[in-house]
């Protein structure tokens, strides 16, 4: 079986105002050395998914069901303690805002050393050396000096590199990057992404990149999973998603994506409206209130929840529009606009 496999994962949070279905029946697989990009607006449930995998979703209140298989181990049922031992060692995570994600009172070095010594019974000295190596590998100049600096003394990019160094310090087999570049400015983004690509190659880890920005995953990912309202609404290879996207929402994402490789077009096509409430999800297709093509489904969108169906070669789409209709719309209405320049 594959290295990481999610089967019908559901993470629900009961609150005063009702049940929040952050993740609602998500399934996917991921192999070593491969990269999966999970794309969606904030609140689409992508971050909760990642936290769910690490068992960091607010344990007490959350209701989690389904299965998470990591390298042949089932995690949902596993004891918290066991999952903890896997954290950092087998699976590590890179967080969005490195400034708030690192403890302000400890030096970067200390925090990496701590991470390393949790899983490796070595002396501080050894761990420190390791930390310096790691910092060096993520391209921080004079790591032997910077190792003793505090997070606030780093630049944003440096901080993210340090974060990565910390995440990789125990060379995990699964690395999850949650919005690794959103906090950074564009040029630095590129560097960090390159860095992650390289590192992943060296470590041969499975990588999940979570972002709201297709651009980020464009070059990096092998597969891409588009989430909306806690569900997967389109899944496919990077090529599928960029060349033959079939879901209106994906089209929207593509439309609102500034492409580094193309002339910036004035004709971005933002998605109208705002993400759905996770408490009372719109009836039928969660996206229908914002969908330009909703009326073309003849009312079905409002009525029934669409299935996630395979169109071809593992390319899955959750939409009521018939396949040909989708293809047609993409080819004739969306694509030209995107490429027009």
């Amino acid at each position: 079986m594959s290295f990481l496999e999610l089967k019908d994962l559901r993470i629900h949070f009961p609150t005063d105002d009702g049940l929040v279905k952050s993740v609602d029946g998500l399934s996917f697989t991921l192999e070593r050395g491969k990269t999966l990009g999970i794309v969606g607006e904030s609140g689409s449930g992508k971050s909760v998914t990642s936290l769910g995998i690490l068992g960091l979703h607010k344990g007490g209140r959350a209701r989690i069901s389904g299965e998470i298989w990591l390298d042949g181990e089932e995690l949902v049922g596993a004891s918290l303690e066991h999952v903890r031992t896997l954290r950092g060692k087998k699976m590590a995570m890179i967080f969005q805002d490195p400034l708030s994600a690192m403890h302000p009172f400890y030096t970067v070095g200390d925090q990496i050393i701590e991470a390393y010594r949790i899983h490796n019974d070595v002396s501080k000295k050894v761990a420190r050396k390791h930390a310096i190596d790691m910092l060096g590998r993520v391209g921080i100049p004079q790591p032997d000096r910077r190792v003793d600096s505090y997070p606030h003394e780093f630049s944003g990019g440096m901080r993210q590199r340090a974060m990565i160094a910390m995440a990789l310090s125990c060379d995990p087999e699964l690395l999850i990057a949650d919005e690794p570049t959103t906090a950074l400015d564009v040029t630095v983004q590129a560097q960090i992404l390159d860095l992650m690509r390289d590192l992943q190659r060296d470590f041969n880890a499975a990588l999940i990149i979570i972002t709201h920005d297709l651009g980020v995953v464009a070059e990096l990912s092998d597969d891409i999973l588009v989430m909306y309202g806690g569900k997967c609404i389109e899944y496919g290879t990077s090529e599928d998603i960029f060349e033959r996207p079939e879901h209106p929402y994906t089209w929207g994402l593509l439309g609102s994506m500034p492409r580094l490789d193309r002339e910036p077009t004035e004709r971005l096509m933002p998605i109208k409206g705002s993400p759905p409430s996770l408490i009372n999800v719109p009836s039928g297709c969660a996206f229908h209130p914002r969908c330009v093509f909703e009326e073309r489904t003849g009312g079905r969108a409002k009525a029934e929840v669409p299935e996630l169906l395979e169109t071809e070669g593992g390319h899955l789409v959750r939409c009521h529009l018939p396949r040909e209709r989708r293809r047609a719309i993409w080819e004739n209405e969306i694509k030209p606009n995107l490429e027009a320049s």
Partner: protein, 339 residues
């Protein structure tokens, strides 16, 4: 760093000067506004049987007729340079810091203060140890078990704690544990045994005041710690720590508490500073011969030199505590830059 300390030191001195002026004003100006004359002030020095002109002479000699500025100058000079005092057979130099001589006992104030200080320090430190441990521990537990029965109970008690006047809890504790109690758990103050003399007696005499005082503060600190913990435990870096696979205890102590305690440190410094200046109510309730009791007695007896002395020393502690806290803060929180 150095420049920073120097700047703070200067500021501290300025503060003390202002406080001293204010104190002086209150005690030498207000009475005059209230109709006291330099004679009536001097009358306290020569006793009630003195004749009119004896009082006049004394008033002159004590310089009560000089303008207040001059009098303040003399007072300030006494503190920094010392002063001379006619104690009868001869004139004697009262070395700096000289807060003058008590109206009533005719003895210099400074030795009195030195003599009272150990009591207040014992009281304050002892209580502080108890309340920090109790308060912080409770606060952390409540925060971790937020909404649990323990949390609600603890916070209930804490709120009651901050709502009880210490002179009430003090008296009740005395009645319950001390007065006419077959097993007198403690001596109800009045009696203080220096630590170096007999640690057991020292503790025995202080245990009740300690607990009463500590209870009051522990309550406050529990509330503060809880709030602080709730905030820090929601910080991203806590999630990071967990993501590293750090076990929960380490997460709470090393990452959570560390963050939550910093603001508490500040408050602790100030509280301690204020207490060292005299736990007025506690010492009065238990009639412990400390700075606070000294201040009250002096005020009621209108023994101005004593009051001036004790007020300034009290202020000194607060200012000093401020200084320490600022410096410590810079140490604990690397983000604070000095200079």
């Amino acid at each position: 760093m150095v420049t920073y300390i120097i700047r703070r030191l200067i500021w501290a001195v300025v503060m003390l000067t202002i406080v001293s002026i204010a104190t002086f004003a209150i005690f030498f100006l207000v009475p005059r506004l209230a109709g006291a004359t330099s004679e009536s002030l001097a009358a306290r020095y020569v006793g009630r049987t003195a004749s009119a002109e004896q009082v006049k002479i004394a008033a002159e000699k004590l310089g009560f007729n000089d303008p207040l500025v001059v009098q303040y100058g003399r007072f300030a000079k006494g503190i920094v340079a010392g002063a001379d005092y006619d104690y009868g057979p001869g004139v004697e130099h009262c070395p700096a810091p000289c807060f003058g001589y008590s109206f009533l006992t005719r003895l210099p104030v400074w030795p009195d203060l030195l003599n009272r200080l150990p009591v207040t320090i014992s009281l304050a430190i002892g209580a502080a140890v108890i309340w920090v441990i109790a308060g912080v521990a409770t606060g952390v537990l409540s925060a971790l078990k937020r909404g649990s029965l323990f949390d609600r109970a603890a916070m209930g008690v804490a709120l009651a704690g901050v709502s009880l006047p210490i002179f009430f809890t003090g008296i009740v504790s005395l009645v319950v544990f001390s007065y006419g109690n077959p097993f007198r758990i403690t001596a109800p103050g009045g009696s203080f045994t220096p630590f170096e003399e007999n640690p057991a007696m020292w503790a025995y005499n202080l245990i009740l005041p300690w607990i009463t005082l500590a209870f009051l503060y522990a309550a406050g600190y529990a509330r503060l710690t809880r709030a602080g913990m709730l905030e820090t435990m929601n910080e991203d870096y806590i999630r990071t720590a967990r993501a590293k696979g750090l076990n929960e205890r380490a997460v709470v102590v090393k990452h959570g508490l560390r963050g939550a305690l910093t603001p508490i440190l500040t408050i602790f410094g100030l509280d301690l500073g204020l207490l060292l200046g005299g736990a007025v109510l506690t010492e009065s309730t238990y009639s412990l011969p400390g700075m606070g009791k000294y201040a009250i007695d002096a005020i009621l007896a209108q023994d101005l030199p004593k009051v001036m002395g004790v007020t300034l020393v009290a202020a000194f502690f607060v200012v000093f505590a401020n200084l320490i806290v600022d410096l410590l803060y810079a140490v604990v929180d690397p983000r604070v830059r000095l200079g």
